[in-house]
């Protein structure tokens, strides 16, 4: 436990929430008419952020394990497409969701097998799979959007289950938090979490300790794949249709969010609270800058600068901790 709370967790556990709170307060204070905390704005953030956020949670776990997955931007819409096909075939939406989660995990497993068996960098392998699955999606979907409203109307139980409201709170946010809690327990309180940190920080030492690092990585890839399926279906349900452009750009945004959340690109460092907050920090900056009426064309510039700034802060925090514990 001490070891897991180590690896920079102590300071990064504080630094990311601090950054989140400061960012939140800045936009609260300076947005005209305090529009940032307007319930409509907070509801929109809560409803829309989990589309990327759910996938980013898995990416965070995988990056702690020392690997990347860029294929998410293709696996997500592919799962959404297959879900739509199941609906068209007459499958109940709940059954289709239950079927698609293992399908997504299987797509993740393919990445895991390729990465662990070839020994090639996961960046290259998953970049290739990003292109491969997108090509497959082009062929099978013909790029056509598919309306799923006839199968899951806006007032259906399934729609409420994935995209409804519990009081004023969007269900998507609850799913995001629930998945974060489960992954947090796995990462920080279970033996498998130990293996993930060990695999990410020093795979040779992990193997010497008897940890099957290949298996650990494959399971992490399967987690990412399953979450892609879930997020893709959740997004399609909200949109009312499958579209081939779902998830485009998520591969880099997820990495940015996770890095802002304190996860090291080299693996072995990070925590679930930071990952979850990192997702919201990125979204809040994007949202808040527009509310501050910063010229919209300049928003990406600020987000780029913010990512660099947060990485520097997290690196300093981790380095200080490492020096203190040396």
């Amino acid at each position: 436990m001490q070891r897991r709370l180590g690896q920079g967790l102590w300071l990064s556990f504080i630094s990311t929430p601090l950054v989140f709170i400061i960012t939140f307060l800045i936009f609260w204070a300076f947005s005209p008419g305090h529009r940032f905390v307007d319930p409509r704005n907070l509801a929109a953030i809560a409803k829309l952020t989990p589309d990327l956020g759910v996938v980013a949670l898995g990416i965070g776990v995988l990056m702690i394990c020392g690997e990347f997955d860029l294929s998410i931007a293709s696996v997500l819409p592919l799962c959404s497409f297959l879900f739509a096909q199941l609906l068209i075939a007459g499958v109940d939406p709940f059954a289709a969701l239950a079927l698609m989660i293992p399908v997504g995990a299987s797509l993740g497993l393919i990445n895991g097998v390729l990465v662990t068996r070839t020994g090639l960098p996961s960046f290259i392998i998953t970049l290739s799979m990003l292109l491969f699955w997108r090509g497959v999606l082009y062929v099978v979907s013909g790029l056509m959007p598919i309306s799923i409203l006839p199968y899951v109307p806006t007032d259906s139980d399934f729609t409420h289950f994935l995209t409804g409201l519990v009081g004023p709170v969007p269900v998507q946010l609850l799913w995001f938090l629930g998945i974060a809690v489960v992954l947090g327990i796995v990462l920080h309180l279970g033996r498998f979490g130990n293996w993930i940190y060990a695999t990410g920080s020093n795979p040779d030492a992990a193997r010497a300790m008897g940890i099957d690092t290949r298996l650990v990585k494959m399971v992490c890839y399967m987690i990412v794949g399953a979450l892609c399926a879930f997020a893709g279906i959740m997004q399609a349900t909200r949109l009312g249709s499958f579209t081939a452009s779902q998830g485009i750009g998520f591969e880099l945004k997820a990495v940015a969010a996770v890095v802002v959340g304190g996860v090291s690109l080299r693996g072995g460092v990070g925590n679930m609270l930071g990952i979850a907050l990192g997702v919201f920090i990125i979204q809040i900056i994007d949202n808040g800058l527009i509310l501050l009426q910063v010229p919209v064309f300049g928003v990406n510039t600020f987000i780029g600068l913010a990512v660099i700034l947060f990485v520097i802060i997290n690196n300093l925090a981790n380095r200080q901790f490492a020096e203190q514990t040396a």
Partner: protein
């Protein structure tokens, strides 16, 4: 017509060719019929559509049109969708030229970048026509043989005028109105030119506050996030438009996110994706322009065939079809595949 029985496909091929330029002539009919029985008119020909498009619903329909025409004419046709990456699009064009096709249909999305490549291709004997986007100066600006597509500026003007007329009818003081237009790729020529068309209409109605803003790409959630934030940041917004299919698709959700009732903000845009159709039916979206992009893919093949056969170079305006709640019932079943 000869005594030889005309096959349905032949008939469709000839009719479509005629429709392409209003060019039904005895010569064409006899030429098309001269193809041996069972052989399609353009068999053995290979055409390439080099676009700036991406894997979004709009280009799915263009591709459908291309495939249908290729099937009908018996030729091979392929489409490149480089996702608004001009450098990649240019590379695809060079690859297309190197493959020595019987013709290239090119999206001319830059006024300078395509001048020399098109000249070089024509000099190499490869016919190049423009589709979807043209040089601002038309044939005077680029030597492409002809252009098939929507007059983007006019389309922008039409949707702008439609919304502003509705606003005027509602008694809105247009001198105080604010017009916001979301461009998924705001630097793309289509967005710029459509915005210019909307601005033309705004000038005509005495509207001075108008802005094109960045929707952040073609990913649906990203665009919805940006549009929602923009709308909350600019409560003075009276008219909200999408410059393309993605932004227009998200209008209804954005207006709901911002707590707006149907018609409270007058919204409209382009294309007829499933979300836009739902918006029209629920009165959140007032009107949309269907540029009938199916025809751009379809006629690209037909016109390139006609050029190879008869050196015909018709200019075809495919766009400007205004879709409202009144005619959505006809459009809806076709949305996503043919419209």
């Amino acid at each position: 017509m000869s005594s030889q029985k005309m096959h349905r496909r032949d008939f469709l091929a000839v009719t479509a060719a005629a429709a392409a330029g209003g060019l039904l002539s005895p010569m064409m009919v006899s030429e098309a019929m001269a193809a041996p029985k069972g052989q399609k008119p353009a068999e053995g020909m290979y055409f390439r559509l080099v676009t700036h498009g991406a894997d979004d619903p709009f280009w799915a329909v263009v591709k459908q049109g291309m495939m249908d025409a290729a099937e009908l004419y018996g030729c091979k046709a392929e489409i490149d969708l480089p996702g608004s990456d001009l450098a990649l699009q240019q590379k695809k064009f060079q690859e297309a030229v190197a493959s020595k096709p019987d013709g290239i249909a090119l999206v001319i999305n830059d006024d300078q970048a395509w001048d020399k490549p098109v000249e070089d291709a024509l000099a190499a004997g490869i016919p190049v026509i423009g589709i979807n986007n043209d040089d601002k100066e038309g044939a005077a600006g680029n030597k492409r043989l002809c252009y098939i597509g929507q007059n983007e500026r006019r389309a922008g003007y039409v949707i702008g005028r439609t919304l502003f007329e509705a606003g005027k009818a509602k008694g809105i003081d247009l001198s105080k109105a604010h017009v916001a237009m979301c461009g998924e790729v705001p630097t793309a020529m289509y967005a710029q030119v459509r915005f210019a068309g909307v601005k033309d209409a705004a000038d005509e109605f005495g509207i001075t506050s108008i802005e094109l803003f960045d929707g952040g790409g073609i990913e649906m959630t990203t665009v919805e996030q940006r549009m929602t934030a923009y709308l909350l940041a600019h409560p003075e917004t009276t008219f909200l438009l999408g410059a393309g299919g993605i932004g227009t698709d998200r209008l209804t959700s954005v207006l709901k996110n911002a707590g707006k009732a149907p018609g409270e903000i007058l919204a409209g845009g382009f294309d007829t994706t499933p979300g836009t159709v739902e918006g029209l039916k629920s009165d959140y979206v007032l009107a949309t322009i269907d540029q009938q992009q199916y025809l751009q893919g379809y006629f690209a093949v037909v016109v390139l065939y006609l050029y190879n056969k008869f050196r015909l170079t018709p200019n075809i305006d495919t766009g400007g079809y205004l879709v409202t709640k009144e005619n959505i019932e006809f459009i809806e079943p076709l949305s996503g595949k043919y419209r």
